[in-house]
Amino acid sequence: MSDQILRVPAEERYADELAKLQQADAATGAALPPGWKLSPKAVRAFLIGDEKLGVTRKFYGDDPLVDRAIVTLLGRQGLMLVGEPGTAKSMLSELLAAAICGNSNLTVQGTAGTTEDHIRYSWNYALLLAEGPSERSLVPSPIYRAMQAGAIARFEEVTRAAPEIQDTLVSIMSEKQLMVPELGADARVSALPGFNIIATANLRDRGVNEMSAALKRRFNFETVHPIKDRAFEIELVSRQLDEGLGAERANVKIDRKVVELLVTAFRDLRSGTTAEGTAIKRPETVMSTAEAVNVALAAALESRYLGDGTLTATQVAHQFVGVALKDNAEDAKRLRFYVDTVVRERARSDRDWKVFQSAATALWG
C-alpha cells in the first residue's frame, strides 16, 4: 500500500526507527512527559540521528535549534518556526509531531481562504438540520482533535491566514480549551496533556499577513536558517538526489562535480556573494536547498529519459531556468549578469562551468 502512494507521513516512513527509540526509552526507563510517546532525548535522537540505535539524521545544520524546539513544546508556549522558504520548516514540524505524538497529520494549512471553522470546528449540515447540534453533527478541526487526543497540531503557513483568523489561536493557546456553545452552555473541549501547536510562518514573502502581538506572545520563535556549510550542502543535495531517484539511481551517472556546480550557483545567487567573495546581483526568487534538490532531480531525470544517462551541466542549466526564472523580469537580467560575469570567468578554467555557460547562454541569449 505505502509503496503506491506518493508520500507517506513521517510516522509511517520511519515507523521502525520510532519503535526502536520507544524500546530504548523503555529499556533506560527514561521519563516520558505527559502525553508524549517518546522522551525528549529520544525525540532529539529521531531528528538528529543516533548511530548506535541505527536512527538516521533527518534535520541538518542546527542541533541547538532542535533542542530549543523540543523544549519549547514541553512548556506552555507554542512553537513558531520562521525563516525563508525552503529551509525545511515544514519538515521539522512534521518530524517533531511524528516523534512526539506519532501523528503528523493534524494539520491546518493557512491560506487567504482559511476561516475560523478550519481552526475550531464546523458542522455536517445534513445532520445539523436533521438532528440539531450534537456531537455527531460536529466536524472537529485538526486542532480540536489534537486537543482531545493530547497531540501536536500543526499550523502551516500561519501568516497566510488573515490576522483575525490567526487570532482564533490566541484563546485556544492560553486557555487550552475550546468552548462549543452550540452543544450547551458548559460544552467545551479541554486539551489533554501533550497538546501543543507547531506553526510555520514566512515573515517576509509577498502576500503574507502580519501577526498580532497577542498571538506572537503565545509562541516561542525559532528561525530556521539556510545551510551555512558549502561542503555539507553538496553532501545533502547528493544524498537527497539519490533518495529522490530511488530505483532510477542505477540508470543515471552522476558526477559529483556537477552537483557541486549546482550548489555553488545556488549559494552564489542566494547570498548575493560568490564563493570568491564578490558581490553579485541577487535574484528575488527563492534559491533554497530544497529547490536545488528539485533542480538536481529534474536534471537527472532529463538525462535519464531525454539524454544519454549522464548528468551534465547542460541539463542543470536547462532546469535552472525553470526554478530561477519565475515571474520576475528583473531576475532574468540578474541571472544573465551572473552568467556573463561569474560563470564566464569560471568557464575559463573549468570544463563543467564552460558547459553550463554555453547551455545557459543558448537559453537566455
Partner: protein, 789 residues
C-alpha cells in the same frame, strides 16, 4: 591506525606518571584560564593537600608583584602588564585575572594557608617574539584541535567553548581528583594533535623546559607537597619531562634580569575581559561567570534572566518582557539543561532560552541583544592596593607635556593659543595635544582652528586648545596599555585598527576614507603610518569606483600639501603624486557618472561640481593635472549619452580656454521640436551649477521665457515642479532681478508678478450662500452627517 595507538599509549602512560608524581607530593592542577570549575577544583586541591609551595604559570619575573597581588586590598579584575623592547619597539602584554581565575584563586588560597607562591613560566622578555600575541594566556590550541572539533560535533556542541562548558563547567561536584584527571585527558587530546615542530616553533617547548626546571628546583627546595597550577595544555609535557621520559630539561634559562621597567599591576574590568571586545586573553561572557562564581553553588539563571528583562525593558524600545515570560524562559533554560544532561542550566542553555522566549520574529530585538551583552559582559572594575606604581605610559605623557611647557602641575583647565604657522614649538605642542585627543585620554580638546579631518577652516593659522591633567586622564592612559606601551604605539595600533575596520567594511575601496586616515596620522605626528597609508592609497586610487570618493581624497591630499609646513610633513610631494594619479581616474569616472537616470542627476551634478572645484584648486600650482579634469568636463558637453542634467552643469562650469556657447545650447534645447523634458532637466543642471549665469547672460533667460510660453498647459504643469526647483538655486536678490527682467519683457510692473489671493466681501457672501444651499440639499436627503465628517 598505529598513530592513533601511539597517541593512546602516550596518554595512558602519562596518566600513570601523573599518579606517580602525586605520590611524590607534586600535584598538578591542569586548568583553563578563567574557568570557574577549574578555580573551584584548584581551591579544593589546595585545601586538601595543603601544599608547602604553590607554583603558578606566569612570567617568573612577576614575583616582584607578589606583595601587591597578595595585598588584601587588591580586588580583581586586575591585570599584570609586561613590557618588552625588541627591534627598537616596545611591546606590551597583559595577564588579566578575575575573581574566578584559577591562578588568582590558587594564589589567594596559598596566602591563606601560608604557603609559598612562585611564578614559574619563562619570562616574557625571553620568549619567541610574537608581536601579534598580546595575550599571555592564549588558548588557541583548543580552538584549532581536530580531535576536539570532532568531539564537539559528536556531543552536539557548536564549538570548543560550548564543549568545554558541557563537559566541565556543568557537572556535579566529583572531587578535584576526578575533575583534573578529565581536564588532563581533554587537554592531552588537543596537545597530541600538534607536531613537535609546531610547538617548538611557537615557543611552547621552551616555556615548558623552563617550567620543568623551576618545578625541579622547588622539589629540591621544599619537602612538603607542591601544587602546580598551569594551563592544561602544558601539563602532559611537564609530567613527561619530570618523569624523565622526555630528554632531560636543559638547565633553566639563567634568570638573567633583562627586565625593562615594570611589570606593573593595573586595574582591569570585566568588559575588557570579554573575548568579544577584542582585547585578547579573554573569555566569553565574563559577567555571567562572575555571577556563577559569586553564586557559589547555586546557578544564577533566574537572576540573569530577570536582569536581562529589566535592562531590555528599561530601553523602552521593545514590547515589555513580562514576569510570566521570564518564568517561562527560566523553565525553558532548565528543560534545555535537562535535555542536554546538564545538572543546572549553563551559559548556552541560558542564551538558548533567551533566543526562544524573548524574540518574536526572526531575530532577537536589539534591546534584548544589548541587555544580554550588558548582563553577560559585566562591568566590574578592579581595585589596587594604595601606592601601586603606575605604568610608564602615564609618566611618558606627563613628561612629554612638561617638556612642551604645558602646565600639568594641577588638575585645573587651561587654555592655550598656538600660532602653528610661525612657531615650530607651537606645532610640536599642537601635535601632542592632537595625539592626546585622538587617544581619548580626556586631556585636551580643540576649541578653534583648522580641522584637517573634517576639512574645515583650513585657512586658519592658529589653533586653540583647552587641556587639564586630571586623575581621569591617568586612568584613561592606563587603560590604553592594552594597545601598546607608548603613546605613539597606542595611536599606531588604533590607527591600524581603524584601517582594518575600513578594510572589512563596504567602504574598503574608498580612497577618501584612507585619505582621512592619512590626515589623522599626520595630525598626530605619525609620519611613518602616514607614509604607509600613502602607499596604500597610491595603489588603490585607480581602482576606486566612486567619483566623490576620489575627488574627496584628492581634496584631502591637496589640503594636506598646502598645510605641509603647519603639519611638519616630511615629503609633501609624495601626496601630490597621488593626486596626479587620481586625476585620470576622476576623468574616467566623470564620464561614467555622466550617464545617469533622472533621479540620480542632482547627485551626479554635485560630483561634477566638486571635480570642477578640485580642478580650479589645482589649476594654480599644477595646471597639467587640472587640464586632465577640465578636458573630461569639456568632453561631456559633446558626448551624446550625457544625461541632460549633467550636460547643463558641464556647460555651466567654467573650463579655461573653451566657450561652451551656453545661450545657443539653451536656445537649441528649448527650440520648437526639442524634447521639453530634456530641456527642463538641462536647465535644472545648469541652475544647480551656476545659478547666476541666468542673470549675466540675458539670452538664456530669453530662451527660457520663450520656451515656457510655448509649452502646452499640461506639459507646463508637468514640468512646473522641476522649473521651480531650478529657480530655488537663486539667492533672493537674484530672484528679484530675474523677476524684474521678466516683467520688462512682458511689460508689467515687477510687483504685479507676485501672486496674491485677494477675496472680496462679496466673494465671501457668495461662498456662504452656496454653503447654506448645499447643507439644505444634503439635509433633505438625510445626508447631513456627510458634512460634519
Amino acid at each position: 591506525m598505529p598513530a592513533e595507538n601511539d597517541r593512546e599509549q602516550r596518554l595512558f602512560a602519562a596518566k600513570r606518571l601523573r599518579a606517580d608524581l602525586g605520590k611524590t607530593g607534586i600535584y598538578f592542577a591542569p586548568i583553563r584560564h578563567h574557568s570557574v570549575a577549574c578555580a573551584r577544583a584548584a581551591q579544593a586541591l589546595i585545601a586538601d593537600v595543603r601544599p608547602e609551595a604553590v607554583l603558578i604559570e606566569g612570567d617568573s619575573t612577576l614575583d616582584t608583584l607578589l606583595p601587591a597581588l597578595m595585598d588584601p586590598a587588591a580586588k580583581p579584575p586586575l591585570a599584570v602588564l609586561v613590557l618588552r623592547k625588541a627591534d627598537g619597539e616596545t611591546f606590551s602584554s597583559l595577564y588579566p585575572m578575575a575573581d574566578f581565575s584559577p591562578e588568582w584563586v590558587s594564589l589567594r588560597a596559598a596566602v591563606e594557608l601560608g604557603a609559598q607562591v612562585a611564578f614559574i613560566d619563562q619570562p616574557w622578555a625571553e620568549r619567541k617574539a610574537d608581536s601579534q600575541t598580546r595575550s599571555l594566556m592564549n588558548e588557541r590550541y583548543y580552538a584549532e584541535s581536530q580531535t576536539l572539533a570532532r568531539l564537539a560535533v559528536q556531543e552536539h556542541c557548536r564549538d570548543q567553548d560550548e564543549l568545554w562548558e558541557h563537559l566541565f563547567e556543568l557537572r556535579a561536584d566529583t572531587g578535584w581528583e576526578e575533575f583534573f584527571d578529565e581536564v588532563f585527558t581533554w587537554s592531552a587530546l588537543a596537545r597530541l594533535d600538534y607536531e613537535p615542530q609546531v610547538l617548538e616553533a611557537e615557543g611552547s617547548l621552551a616555556r615548558e623546559t623552563v617550567m620543568t626546571a623551576h618545578i625541579q628546583a622547588w622539589r629540591n627546595r621544599v619537602t612538603g607537597p607542591i601544587a602546580v597550577v598551569t594551563g592544561a595544555f602544558h601539563t602532559l609535557q611537564l609530567i613527561e619531562a619530570l618523569s624523565g621520559h622526555e630528554p632531560p630539561a636543559a638547565s633553566p634559562a639563567p634568570a638573567e634580569l633583562r627586565r625593562d621597567k615594570g611589570p606593573w599591576l593595573i586595574r582591569y574590568d570585566l568588559t575588557r575581559l570579554d573575548a568579544y571586545s577584542g582585547y585578547g586573553a579573554g573569555i566569553r561572557s565574563p559577567g555571567y561567570y562572575q555571577r556563577v562564581w559569586e553564586a557559589s553553588d547555586a546557578s544564577p539563571t533566574a537572576a540573569c534572566l530577570v536582569d536581562i528583562a529589566r535592562a531590555a525593558n528599561a530601553a523602552e524600545t521593545t514590547d515589555t518582557i513580562s514576569v510570566a515570560e521570564v518564568i517561562e524562559a527560566t523553565l525553558q533554560a532548565e528543560r534545555l539543561a535537562d535535555l542536554r544532561g546538564h545538572p543546572w542550566p549553563g551559559r548556552t542553555d541560558l542564551l538558548d532560552a533567551c533566543a526562544s522566549c524573548f524574540s518574536s520574529g526572526e531575530q532577537l530585538p536589539p534591546a534584548v541583544r544589548d541587555a544580554i551583552a550588558e548582563v553577560f559582559g559585566g562591568a566590574k572594575l578592579g581595585e589596587l592596593p594604595p601606592n601601586t606604581p603606575t605604568p610608564p605610559i602615564v609618566a611618558e605623557a606627563r613628561a612629554w607635556a612638561q617638556r612642551l611647557r604645558l602646565d600639568v602641575s594641577d588638575s585645573l583647565r587651561r587654555h592655550t593659543v598656538l600660532d602653528v604657522r610661525r612657531s615650530a614649538s607651537a606645532r610640536e605642542r599642537a601635535r601632542f595635544l592632537a595625539l592626546m585627543a585622538f587617544l581619548n585620554a580626556g586631556f585636551a580638546a580643540k576649541t578653534a582652528g583648522p580641522d584637517y579631518i573634517a576639512g574645515r577652516n583650513l585657512g586658519r593659522v592658529r589653533e586653540e586648545w583647552d587641556y587639564a591633567w586630571t586623575p581621569m586622564v591617568e586612568a584613561a592612559l592606563i587603560g590604553l596599555v592594552a594597545d601598546g606601551a607608548t603613546l605613539r604605539e597606542v595611536a599606531a595600533t588604533r590607527l591600524r585598527r581603524a584601517e582594518r575596520e575600513l578594510d572589512g567594511s563596504p567602504n574598503r575601496r574608498s580612497s577618501n576614507a584612507v585619505a582621512q586616515l592619512i590626515a589623522q596620522a599626520l595630525l598626530i605626528g605619525l609620519g611613518d603610518e602616514a607614509g604607509r597609508l600613502r602607499d596604500k592609497i597610491d595603489a588603490m586610487v585607480e581602482r576606486d569606483p566612486e567619483l566623490s570618493s576620489v575627488v574627496g581624497a584628492s581634496n584631502y591630499l591637496l589640503g594636506l600639501w598646502r598645510s605641509a609646513d603647519m603639519l611638519s610633513i616630511d615629503s609633501p610631494q609624495s601626496l601630490i603624486g597621488v593626486v596626479a594619479k587620481s586625476c585620470p581616474q576622476i576623468a574616467y569616472l566623470l564620464e561614467q557618472a555622466s550617464q545617469v537616470k533622472e533621479d540620480a542627476e542632482p547627485a551626479a551634478v554635485t560630483a561634477l561640481l566638486s571635480a570642477a572645484e578640485l580642478a580650479r584648486q589645482l589649476a594654480d600650482p599644477f595646471p597639467d593635472m587640472a587640464d586632465v579634469i577640465y578636458s573630461a568636463i569639456a568632453r561631456l558637453r559633446d558626448a551624446r549619452k550625457t544625461s541632460p542634467g549633467v550636460l547643463g552643469a558641464a556647460l555651466a562650469v567654467a573650463v579655461p580656454g573653451t566657450d561652451p556657447g551656453i545661450s545657443e545650447r539653451v536656445l537649441a534645447a528649448f527650440a520648437p521640436g526639442g524634447d521639453p523634458d530634456h530641456a527642463v532637466r538641462m536647465l535644472a543642471g545648469l541652475m544647480q551649477a551656476a545659478p547666476d549665469l541666468i542673470l549675466h547672460v540675458p539670452e538664456i533667460l530669453d530662451a527660457i521665457d520663450a520656451a515656457v510660453a510655448r509649452l502646452e498647459n499640461e506639459d507646463f504643469l508637468l514640468f512646473l515642479p522641476e522649473l521651480r526647483r531650478s529657480f530655488t538655486f537663486l539667492k533672493p536678490f537674484e530672484t528679484a532681478k530675474v523677476a524684474e527682467r521678466i516683467a520688462q519683457r512682458t511689460g508689467v510692473a515687477a510687483e504685479e508678478l507676485a501672486a496674491t489671493l485677494a477675496i472680496s466681501e462679496s466673494d465671501m457672501r457668495l461662498g456662504a450662500a452656496v454653503e447654506q444651499a448645499l447643507r439644505a440639499s444634503l439635509a433633505a436627503d438625510a445626508l447631513l452627517e456627510w458634512c460634519d465628517a
